[in-house]
């Protein structure tokens, strides 16, 4: 049995323990590699390609040039302490990664078998139990590795761990048929309600995803399963952080999936991933964006609460700009004054 399950491999980017942002309680989140979308703001750009990638982490590099000297393809070069990778020449053989003494060369994407991955996540069982947490599979897009995701969540369920699927919804419908029976919770993204903007931001329109969302709703209803549904909306400055977008998503939820949704989370953008783009030789349009203020998040949450959904399902989370208590008090006072003036 074990070997059979372990024969199903998934390409995993990262395992994050004590995650407090991916569902209820304390969770271990497994990020798989490869995504069906390519959001312009993506916090984990390394999770988008389905192929393994090599990256150089400048801060870890000790400048020993072991990688440059050891690359059989001569794909690496050193320009005044900056290691450059000719990605066209690189065959992902991994020699530079294996030999880098400082772990500055990193191969993104590790194959994990179902059992070994379940063993790994089970280490935090005590914390799952004390917090009502569990395992979240995220990405990338886990529904793009449906066989692995289904097998992994099934194994977690068998071990009595709470399971959550974090999905953008862009995949074949059948993927949900395979995975849903083993997920206690689905975290389903609705990023942008306007299909044109959605395509501009993510590379795909949202029609298929909204359709799949209804399929998820129907499947849960039809099978009488206890799977819960949370909607998540990333709040991105100069993109999704618009009143009409939030109102539109809210209206969609209210009209189509109102009874099925337990929670709608607005997730604040963060800019902590700037370095990730650089390491992958990518440009990032959002690099210069500052963190959102609490005020903005509160405002959008308020828009959400008035969009037709049951207001109690609306939450917001994520890091906001650091402001001192004084500033906060000041802002609160200003907000209060605006309110007074508005009257």
């Amino acid at each position: 049995m074990k070997s059979e399950r372990d024969a199903i491999k998934g390409l995993v980017l990262n395992i994050q323990r004590m995650s407090t942002e991916d569902g209820p309680g304390i969770r271990t989140t497994v990020f798989v590699k490869g995504c069906s979308l390519a959001c312009a703001w993506c916090h984990n750009p390394e999770s988008i390609p389905f192929e393994r990638q090599i990256q150089w982490i400048e801060t870890k590099c000790i400048g020993c040039r072991t990688c440059v000297k050891g690359c059989p393809q001569q794909a690496l070069s050193d320009d005044a302490g900056v290691i450059a990778l000719d990605r066209a020449a690189c065959t992902l053989c991994g020699i530079c990664v294996d030999e880098c003494p400082a772990l500055a060369m990193e191969l993104l994407g590790t194959e994990w078998g179902v059992d070994e991955l379940a063993d790994e996540v089970e280490k935090d069982r005590s914390y799952f139990e004390s917090s009502g947490g569990g395992v979240t599979i995220s990405g990338g897009e886990p529904c793009m590795q449906p066989e692995f995701t289904a097998a992994f969540l099934r194994e977690c369920t068998r071990r009595g761990l709470h399971t959550a699927l974090d999905t953008c919804g862009l995949c074949r419908k059948e993927a949900f048929d395979a995975i849903l029976p083993h997920a206690d919770l689905v975290l389903y993204d609705i990023k942008e309600i306007d299909p044109v903007l959605h395509k501009r931001f993510t590379g795909s329109g949202n029609e298929r995803m909204l359709e799949n969302l209804k399929h998820v709703r129907d499947t849960i209803a039809k099978t009488g399963s206890k799977t819960k549904l949370w909607i998540r909306t990333p709040i991105i400055p100069n993109a999704t952080a618009r009143d009409e977008n939030i109102a539109g998503i809210g209206a969609y939820i209210a009209e189509n999936i109102a009874g099925a949704v337990e929670r709608w989370e607005l997730c604040a953008f963060n800019n902590l991933c700037r370095d990730k783009y650089r390491r992958l030789d990518l440009e990032w349009d959002f690099g210069a964006e500052a963190l959102l203020g609490r005020e903005t998040m509160e405002h959008l949450a308020n828009v959400a609460r008035h969009s037709g959904v049951d207001p109690v399902i609306v939450h917001w989370s994520g890091a906001t700009k650091f402001i001192s208590d004084d500033e906060q008090a000041d802002n609160d006072a200003k907000a209060h004054m605006r309110l007074v003036k508005g009257c």
């Binding site: 407090t20 000790i62 003494p101 914390y127």
Partner: protein
């Protein structure tokens, strides 16, 4: 740089809800060296040429003091005032002389004073009193201290060569406060008298009789001192114009007429008695508050609290009494107030214990627990007394919510969390290993309490020498690499004198010829046993001196076993009398072993000779190998089962070996623990480079914590590793206590630093609470939570004047951030902050 004009960029916790009285007392305390009143050491002599006040042995575990031993001895002797001795003084035994002298000084020489508004009497107590030695005794004792074989040279050699430090130290126990409150000193005295009468005539003339007579004298010291303070209160009351204060002073006088001699009846009496009983221990030991701990404060004071509440005492006034007690506890730091609040004065550890399990798994949280937490919250930031909250599986949500509120409004937890299940498993292990199941068993193990920082002991009958031996486990790795010699020549930093490298340990062979990991491990085993034996021997040097020359008859009255055996606590009188070896550098040791195995044997990245050369060169010119050691070799603290198996093997080995020893002079059993105080910082400059990639001069790992930066898998993984190396869990009879195992009866210091955002909203606070509950299941014996923003600490380094009250916790003792050394500051900043967005 015009630093003074810069406003603090971050707020630090401020005290709140303080009455004008407490506000004044607190502010006055923080005036520090410029105060008109203080509790500085006063020195007192018998007037002989050979007299000694300062007992350096107590400071053998404080390497910063080594250079000053002789200076302190001389300067206290010079400043000491002569006490007119009783005509028979020199005809008495040493303990009788000591008991009489301390009493005479405290009652008749040191002035009795009361600060404005104070509700608790008992002000000056920091003494450097004569050791009361006869010339013959002084010479005999000095012969054991001085010389190349003397205790001083032996312990200094031990430290200079990187083994750690060792010395018989004061405090570090929970005295029998509950008994003293319940029966009063009158009861204690009567008991002593009865035991004395029961002695045979020859015993009366001998050592036993002398000890009991000394203890009887000591037992009257609190009575006579209280009478003096009662008189002072009456004198002040007569002059007092304010009617409210006048009646307070009259009540204080009435309290002092009764306690601590008579049993306490009200809260005010009990707190008054407790304070006098406690402060006189510090006088008796000539040492301010080193882990002289209060035990389960909210349990034994509860009846008095309840009675006073029922009698109509205003709850706020009751808290006011406690707050005065808090202020008093901090005055211990005045001992060397002119020197400033640096170094050793940052960590005295008069610990109070709150909550925890009772009999039959009951939770003992009560109304006083919450009242004390309010006091702490309102007084914070303040150093003493240090609270330790005992948590367990059934800790009520209400208490945890309260604690998390306090954590989130403070810079760190203003308390340490002790975890009952793991701690009690350790105490039960101790009972089994030392055959003391009649004293520690499942019916009473819940009565344990931590002392000092987090060291678990039983209460009222236990001295376990919890900080007396601090052994660098890493030294065994060094000796295994060299076949029993120091890797580097020791050069005295002050004199420049060189110690030639010698064969100090067993000859375990040339490590460069080892062909298997097992060969190296075997050498490591031999050297671990060797360094533990050495530590025990070094300890014996000071233990026997203390036993023979340094009685503390007053403290002995408060510790069960001493009266029964007519044996001073310094001679092993306590019913439970252990000596703890605190294993230091655990993480660095494990990581070094893992690195050797990985680099030399498993991956053959280098030869043993190359690795040893790299260490001799302090890794200079070996960057690539160092990077591999740091980055590629496995590490403890990641919940990596293979690495943690090595950690468990290291733990099992040294813990088991520690149980093999007893002191020769006092027959005290050694037991293992893990506390590193600040040695992991200072000894980082003493110990050679280590195979884990650490150069000489960089810090070692702290207590049971993973090496700095090693715990890349977050706090749950970190905690799981800690739980595993303590033994983890077991079913049924295999467990030490209800499914839990523990290798370390003393407990182990574990600190995790979190970013404050983990507590940013109620949902996250709930998750944090769940983390603590998970820790109770999987983690260690104690956890210190630091909740500090690295940016705030950097700002505090730049602008210390804005952060004078910023408390951080290090190894379970807290310290003002701006008062600790730059290296330690940097270390705290460098620590992994676990919360990532």
């Amino acid at each position: 740089m015009c630093a003074a004009s810069t406003a603090p960029a971050f707020k630090i916790k401020e005290p709140k809800n303080l009455s004008p009285r407490i506000q004044w007392l607190r502010d006055y305390y923080f005036v520090g060296a410029r105060r008109a009143w203080n509790n500085e050491y006063s020195a007192w002599t018998t007037g002989t040429d050979w007299d000694v006040q300062f007992d350096e042995i107590s400071y053998y575990i404080v390497p910063e003091m080594y250079a000053f031993n002789q200076t302190f001895r001389s300067s206290f002797r010079q400043s000491a005032r002569v006490v007119t001795l009783h005509p028979d003084f020199w005809s008495w035994s040493l303990p009788e002389r000591k008991a009489w002298f301390t009493k005479e000084v405290m009652v008749n020489c040191v002035p009795q004073e009361l600060l404005p508004g104070d509700l608790i009497a008992g002000a000056r107590f920091n003494l450097q009193a004569s050791r009361c030695w006869s010339e013959k005794e002084a010479k005999a004792r000095d012969a054991l201290i001085y010389g190349t074989k003397g205790a001083r040279a032996v312990m200094k050699w031990f430290h200079d060569h990187g083994y750690g430090n060792s010395g018989a130290t004061s405090g570090h126990l929970v005295p029998g406060h509950e008994r003293a409150l319940t029966i009063g000193w009158k009861g204690i005295h009567a008991d002593l008298e009865q035991k004395y009468k029961a002695l045979s005539e020859s015993d009366k003339k001998g050592r036993k009789g002398a000890q009991l007579r000394a203890m009887m004298t000591a037992a009257t010291m609190p009575r006579d001192l209280a009478a003096k303070y009662a008189a002072l209160c009456r004198k002040l009351s007569a002059k007092e114009k304010n009617a409210g204060r006048k009646s307070e002073l009259e009540q204080m006088a009435k309290n002092l007429d009764r306690v601590p001699w008579e049993p306490a009846e009200t809260l005010w009496e009990a707190v008054q008695a407790l304070w006098i009983n406690h402060m006189l221990i510090m006088s008796d030991e000539n040492y301010p508050g080193p882990g002289v701990s209060f035990g389960r404060f909210d349990q034994y004071l509860l009846p008095y609290w309840k009675k006073s509440m029922a009698d109509g005492m205003d709850r706020d006034f009751a808290k006011e009494i406690l707050k005065c007690f808090w202020i008093h506890s901090n005055t211990a730091y005045d001992a060397m107030v002119q020197v400033g609040n640096q170094g050793i004065t940052s960590g005295f550890g008069q610990l109070i214990t709150l909550s925890g399990l009772g009999a039959n798994g009951a939770d003992m949280t009560n109304e006083l627990t919450y009242a004390v937490l309010e006091v702490i919250d309102e007084m914070t930031p303040i150093l003493e007394p240090k609270p330790n909250v005992r948590m367990h599986r059934n800790t009520p949500d209400e208490l945890l919510d309260r604690l998390i509120d306090m954590v989130s409004s403070s810079q760190g937890a203003p308390f340490l969390l002790n975890f009952d299940e793991r701690s009690m498993a350790g105490m039960m292990r101790e009972a089994k290993r030392a055959n003391v199941a009649h004293l520690i068993n499942e019916n009473n193990v819940h009565e344990y309490a931590p002392v000092g920082c987090l060291e678990n002991t039983m209460v009222g009958n236990d001295r376990s020498g919890t900080v007396d031996n601090n052994l660098n486990l890493l030294k065994a790795v060094e000796l295994a690499l060299t076949g029993g010699k120091d890797l580097l020549e020791f050069v005295d930093p002050i004199t420049g004198k060189r110690d030639p490298i010698r064969q100090d340990g067993p000859k375990t062979g040339d490590a460069t010829k080892f062909s298997t990991w097992d060969e190296f491990w075997n050498a490591y085993v031999i050297h671990t046993k060797n360094i533990i034996r050495r530590c025990v021997e070094v300890y014996e040097a000071s233990e026997r001196i203390r036993a023979e020359f340094c009685p503390t008859p007053y403290l002995s009255c408060l510790v069960g076993g001493c009266a029964e055996k007519a044996l001073d606590i310094t001679q092993g009188g306590a019913e439970l009398s252990f000596v703890t070896i605190e294993g230091v550098t655990f993480g660095t040791t494990v990581d070094s072993l893992l690195a050797i195995k990985y680099l030399v044997f498993d991956k053959k990245e280098c030869t043993m000779a190359e690795l040893i050369q790299a260490l001799r060169d302090n890794w200079e010119g070996h960057d690539i190998l160092q990077a591999k050691a740091k980055n590629r070799a496995p590490k403890y603290g990641r919940d990596d089962n293979e690495a943690d198996a090595m950690a468990l093997a290291v733990m099992d080995l040294w813990a088991e070996e520690t149980w093999q020893y007893k002191t020769k002079s006092t027959n005290r059993q050694f037991r293992p623990g893990m506390l590193s105080w600040n040695y992991w910082v200072g000894d980082g400059y003493v110990m050679a480079a280590s195979p884990d990639g650490r150069p000489k001069g960089q810090f070692l790992s702290n207590a049971i914590c993973p090496s700095n930066g090693a715990d890349i898998n977050g706090p749950t993984a970190n905690a799981n590793s800690v739980g595993k190396v303590l033994g983890g869990t077991a079913d049924g009879g295999a467990a030490d206590w209800e499914g839990y195992l523990s290798n370390l009866p003393n407990g182990a210091s574990h600190t995790i630093t979190f970013n404050p955002s983990i507590l940013r909203d109620p949902e996250h606070r709930k998750k944090f609470k769940a983390f603590l509950r998970g820790y109770a299941k999987n983690g260690g014996t104690a956890l210190q939570i630091n909740m500090i923003d690295a940016d705030m600490l950097r700002d505090a380094q730049q602008h210390p004047q804005n952060y004078r009250h910023l408390l951080v916790r290090v190894t379970g003792y807290n310290a003002y951030f701006t008062a600790i050394g730059r290296e330690l500051q940097d270390e705290i900043i460098a620590r992994e902050s676990h919360n990532r967005y």
